[in-house]
Point group: C2
Chain length 244, copies 2
């Protein structure tokens, strides 16, 4: 059976039946390639397709009236893209590629069908969405009540943890893949100030940097100062009935 990156990810958390796996495969029949910088869907576009990210790294963001950008989430392989498009007539967020990426587009009705015919599977998708919701609230707390340094640290930890989930090989050292301006747009800061915060983290021996590669030198202290929680690690799917 061909592999579904979505099924692989869900399978890390709950066992999936053959029927469920093949239902998931139907979501990944097509492919589209995006170069870094490309836009997949634009805010206010009529909602048409949903996507699953197969490889690369993407982000969703909004542009405010004054032209500034707020990045809402980083998107990694196995994530569902534009789930909100399921319930809005116009998509509420722009989605763009942070690195060369491959997505699998599928039509909204396919997800509806899955909701009605594979309720267990749909419940798993909802569970992941809740984990993501928790990440959004963490970000709200970070933006509202933590320092610039903490917010930058939290982005570093977040990206590292998401990358490690895809490649358990990754330890404390990884390629960030974000410009300082992108970090700033995610944390509500200026690129200039992000730079100063990175330098400070480096001066305090919390991280090391060379040419795009970041090494976390004291993860414990970093995590505490950033008030960081890995939400995917806290998921509890034991309430799901066994696979059909």
């Amino acid at each position: 059976m061909p592999s579904s990156c979505f099924a692989e990810r869900l399978g890390d958390f709950v066992p999936l039946s053959t029927g469920e796996r093949s239902a998931l495969l139907r979501l990944e029949e097509r492919e589209r390639t995006l170069r870094r910088g490309a836009t997949l869907v634009r805010e206010n576009d009529p909602a048409g397709e949903l996507f699953i990210l197969r490889s690369g790294m993407m982000m969703s963001y909004v542009i405010l009236p004054d032209g500034s950008r707020q990045i809402l989430r980083f998107i990694f392989p196995g994530d569902v893209i534009a789930l909100p498009a399921l319930v809005f007539s116009r998509v509420p967020e722009t989605v763009g590629a942070l690195a060369d990426s491959v997505v699998c587009p599928f039509d909204r009705p396919l997800m509806t069908q899955l909701a009605l015919e594979q309720p267990r599977l749909f419940a798993v998708i909802v569970a992941f969405d809740q984990a993501e919701r928790a990440m959004l609230t963490d970000r709200i707390a970070a933006l509202g009540r933590t320092s610039a340094k903490a917010r930058v640290a939290s982005v570093l930890l977040d990206v590292r943890n998401r990358l490690r989930r895809l490649d358990p090989t990754i330890d404390n050292s990884f390629i960030l893949g974000l410009t300082q301006e992108e970090i700033g747009d995610a944390t509500g800061l200026t690129a200039v100030h992000v730079n100063r915060m990175l330098r400070q983290l480096e001066d305090e021996a919390l991280i090391r940097r060379d040419s795009g590669r970041v090494t976390l030198l004291d993860e414990g202290r970093l995590g505490r100062s950033a008030n960081y929680t890995d939400r995917l690690a806290g998921l509890d799917l034991s309430w799901l009935p066994p696979a059909a």
Copy 2:
């Protein structure tokens, strides 16, 4: 048939069958009363029950290590409380009462059962949750990229719109029901600065205030300066199959 405030709310968006209404009623068989200031669930409590707010006004929030508080969302009658508890073993947010309130507690398995036996209904609940997700991302954008004045204005608009959905009588004048400290904890500001922003909004003839009552004097200008979107108004549930 007795009324379910949850069914009433969903019924504003999609027609519900008799069977669906009675399934929803099972979620509201019990009641618990809370006084203003009372805590319903506390962050890190083991996840047990979910709730539907029947009357009053509540909030969810987190307390950061330095003792500061970030309010994540305001909760109004008909809202599901602690949905994240469905998928986490420990609840990620504290929920407390902003006004004397009545909630209907129900056990997690009841929601699971609903997910599996009433997929259409569950899809509606997911849709509402997506609307709420959009409100969270709006708040992220507000915290990250808008001025203190805009954030305060956006809270005013948000509360007014939510209240109006419950009582269409409400026009531009309403009882806010929040202290300035609570507004600050929602917007990432200090109570002192919230006060100054309210005064500025008043000086600019955007709002009027007397003793807890707020009147929006220029909703258009207020909405633009706050970059506010009513997410519930943008919901599109036409993709749902007809009621069983």
